[in-house]
Amino acid sequence: MSEAVRETGISAWAGGGGSPFSISSNKLGMWLFLVSDSLTFTALLIAYSYVRVASEVWPRPFESFSIIMASVMTFCLLSSSVTMVLAVAAAKRKALGQTTLWLGATILGGLIFIVLHANEWMELIHHGVTPFANPWGVPLFGATFFTLTGLHMTHVTVGVIYLGVIAWGFSKGKFSSDDVEISGLYWHFVDLVWMFIFPMVYLLSNAL
């Protein structure tokens, strides 16, 4: 009976049984982590929006050059997501070389993102925008901006290390294609979060 339910598993509402979600527990664990992590990012985005709504003036420091750089960063992350799915597809085919190659491309996309973002931070800090003060006298801008983008950059950095470990382990045969797929879930999530930070922080604060 339970075997049949597991094999056919028709009803979306069927609980219990052998495997109600038909995925490995590692993958379910990653999904649950991502759901809780998305709430952390939502809280920070809402904190940013809250102080922005509550402030009479809000700086719009992003000149067209910053917007172009942020667009390039968006392009890097989106493209690294595609190379990630190609890496997962290659891992499922057990194509070891291709998996390493696509994972390498994904890591490269992440690294370019980090370098461009760090460069942009340095530029802002150089112009006196820090977490506690800025030329427009709206310290909450820096406080929320650096917290939000900083947490995201931390995620990208952790992701790059994570993918590096997975690429190494997969080529050594220590990790399965399922592990590659789970690391992919994390990477796509980091990309997804940027899809909200980019319009809400950068595009809505561009210097018109």
């Binding site: 979600f21 759901v35 709430l39 939502t42 392009f75 595609v82 990630m84 796509h188 899809m195």
Partner: protein, 97 residues
Amino acid sequence: MSSSEHGNRLYLTVWSALLILTVVEIALAYQHLTVMVMLLLLVSLSLFKAGLIVAYFMHLRFERMSLTLTLIPALIMCIALMFIIFPDSLRLLELRR
């Protein structure tokens, strides 16, 4: 995934769609709209992009529906609850004026 070539084409299509939507967002940012209209447009486009990423890149569309039902409605509910603080931010704005 039995037909990986077909799968790869799907991923590239989704990628192009995401890039086009991003270009639309950037173009929108330079239109002279009110902040509210701009915010609504940008957030709807971003939600659509997030949906594409979750459904195709994160493969949720091809998992069992029970996983989607477990993860997504609870997430939306929690996010919706966070919006409860916005009336307070408007009150703060009034107080500062």
